[in-house]
Amino acid sequence: MRTAMNIAPDGSRNVADLRDPASFDHVGRDEGADFAAGRVLADLADTDPRIVVGCADLTYVTRLAVFGARHPERFLYYGIAERNMLGAAAGLATTGLIPYVCTFACFSAILGYENIRTDLAYPGLPVRVLGTHAGISMGFFGTSHHATEDIAALRAVAGLMVVSAADPVATEALLRGTVEHDGPVYFRIGRGREQTVYTGVDQLRLDRPTVLARGDDVLLLATGVMVQEALAAARSLAADGVAATVADVHTLKPFPAAAVAELAAAHRSVVTVEEHTVEGGLGTLTVEALAAAGVGTPVHKHGLRDEFALVGPPTHLYRYYGLDGAGIATVARRMHERRATTRLVAEPLWTADDRAAVLRR
């Protein structure tokens, strides 16, 4: 059997002459990122012969090369052919294996949507799809490389579990916690440059959101890379005398509706935060959960609206869309001061003027 790649024992690309310090998550810059997945899966595979990994030309950027270096016989390289990789993973799963296939979220979830639905979810196979660089974290690579609809699209797929990792510790906890899950799982993962918000894998329980900060006024429900920004916002709000709870909603399907409703009932307002469209994502799931539980706490869905994001460095984009700590704090403060009487505050609390002000800076 031919193997496609000759990966260095440490999982590095092993080609110094391609290094370009100005590049972005490319050779030369990828060593700073921690995706955890390659290492965790390699560790799991040491004792679990069912685990195999597939990649589609982003082996180094996603750090799955670490797995390929340690388990070359169980590392399958598919080339730039994501749909074939997803289908092949389904075939592998029918033979008793647990395949983990990885590429950017825009290619795994958006390009591969029908394969996820028809090849993985419809037959209910234990394939794990890893979508890294989710949301707008690919920044200036542009709309083709953003994944701002993946939660909305995938929550509609019957029997698919959808989880979202706030940091590498969360990635590890989610990977370890779902090995035996009897069905497909989609992992929404960031750029591997998130600040660590978890102190240990035991801190995350699959069946409930993780409360990472506590306060009585505003409930900030965040997912993925937005969790670190929500925590920064909570610190800023505290300085202004507004007490915020920050909860990481890491499991989006099945959605922990009762736990979310219970948290919301204990606060005066709720702001959901996602680097994703507010149509069908965490905010929509939250509104539905509160309606079902009869909890009347007002909610504002903060995120991208009916739009494709601009291009720019990721941190600049988060600032522009009010998705950094300062922006989230501003939105939460306005929600708190508003004393809303409707259950859903639909108009943007981060306004066109706020965006324009960021551009002028």
């Binding site: 059997m1 031919r2 052919a81 074939n84 289908g87 092949a88 075939g91 592998l92 029918t94 395949p99």
Partner: protein, 291 residues
């Protein structure tokens, strides 16, 4: 005539008879639904019969037997040709055939692996099957099993780009245990594949992707059995050798002479008098080909 050849003739004769019976059983299924994929089902009947009665190692009483050969019906719309075969082999009761397409039946007009014993993968969306097959072929090899993986595709299905992603992968990887069969019945829903989007030479295209490719008469049990034997010989000689594709020339609707080769009969309904004519035509075919 040598003994081996006489035995072969005997086998071929039995398979031929079975292909007639299964066509008639297919007509019965269509009666239940009032709609049938006659063209693409009858074009692959000899392929399915030769596989299930002459090649595949399966256990109808133990459908999930890990050591079995795998079969993926890439062209899932031909499942009404496969269901009677699975029932005849004992994967499920013959009576289940009577529920074909009715509310809540396990037997839809595209096969579901979760509902039907003997179906190794669900299909219906064209272009997926060969990818599934490459995963199965890798999986059984990683497990050290000798299983063969067979994927049946239609010639229209080759329009789907994903087929060629899978073809490239299998050729590069050296999946000698993978056998693709293309049912070249020359029609899809809109007309003749040659006019709509020509993929000939299909064997040449697969060969360029690193496959062992050969053309066979898709209605000749003798040709098909010989090709399966040669496939086994090649993979025994070189387990990391190229995958094999049999480009099987067939006739859409084969056996019902008044619809043969017609794109209009991809899906349709032969009821009443037409059904009687179809039965008569299929029986005539049996005699025409002589025993």
């Amino acid at each position: 005539m040598t003994e081996a050849l006489a035995a072969d003739t005997d086998v071929v004769s039995r398979l031929r008879e079975r292909s007639i019976e299964m066509r008639l059983a297919n007509l019965e299924l269509v009666e239940v639904a009032g709609s049938g994929h006659y063209g693409p089902s009858f074009s692959c009947m000899e392929i399915l019969v030769s596989l299930y009665y002459g090649f595949l190692r399966v256990r109808p009483g133990e459908p999930q037997w890990p050591g079995r050969d795998r079969f993926v019906l890439g062209k899932g719309h031909a499942c009404s040709a496969l269901y009677p075969i699975l029932a005849d082999l004992g994967f499920f009761p013959e009576s289940t055939l009577g529920t074909f397409t009715r509310l809540g039946s396990p037997l839809g007009d595209h096969p579901d692996m979760r509902k039907i014993p003997g179906i190794d993968f669900s299909s219906g969306s064209l272009g997926h099957g060969l990818s599934i097959g490459t995963g199965m072929a890798d999986g059984v090899r990683l497990a050290g099993r000798d299983s063969r993986v067979v994927v049946l595709l239609g010639d229209g299905e080759l329009n789907e780009g994903q087929v060629w992603e899978a073809a490239a992968y299998a050729g590069h990887r050296g999946l000698a245990n993978l056998l693709a069969i293309v049912d070249v019945n020359r029609v899809s829903v809109d007309g003749f594949t040659r006019d709509l989007l020509d993929f000939e030479p299909i064997d040449g295209r697969f060969a360029a992707f690193g496959w062992h490719a050969e053309r066979v008469d898709g209605h000749s049990h003798a040709d098909l059995l010989a090709a399966y034997r040669a496939f086994d010989e090649r993979r025994a000689a070189d387990p990391d050798g190229p995958p094999t594709v049999l480009v099987a020339d067939t006739v859409a609707g084969r056996g019902v002479d008044f619809i043969e080769g017609m794109a209009e009969w991809h899906v349709g309904y032969l009821g009443g008098v037409d059904r009687d004519r179809a039965v008569a035509s299929i029986r005539r075919m049996f005699h025409r080909e002589g025993h």
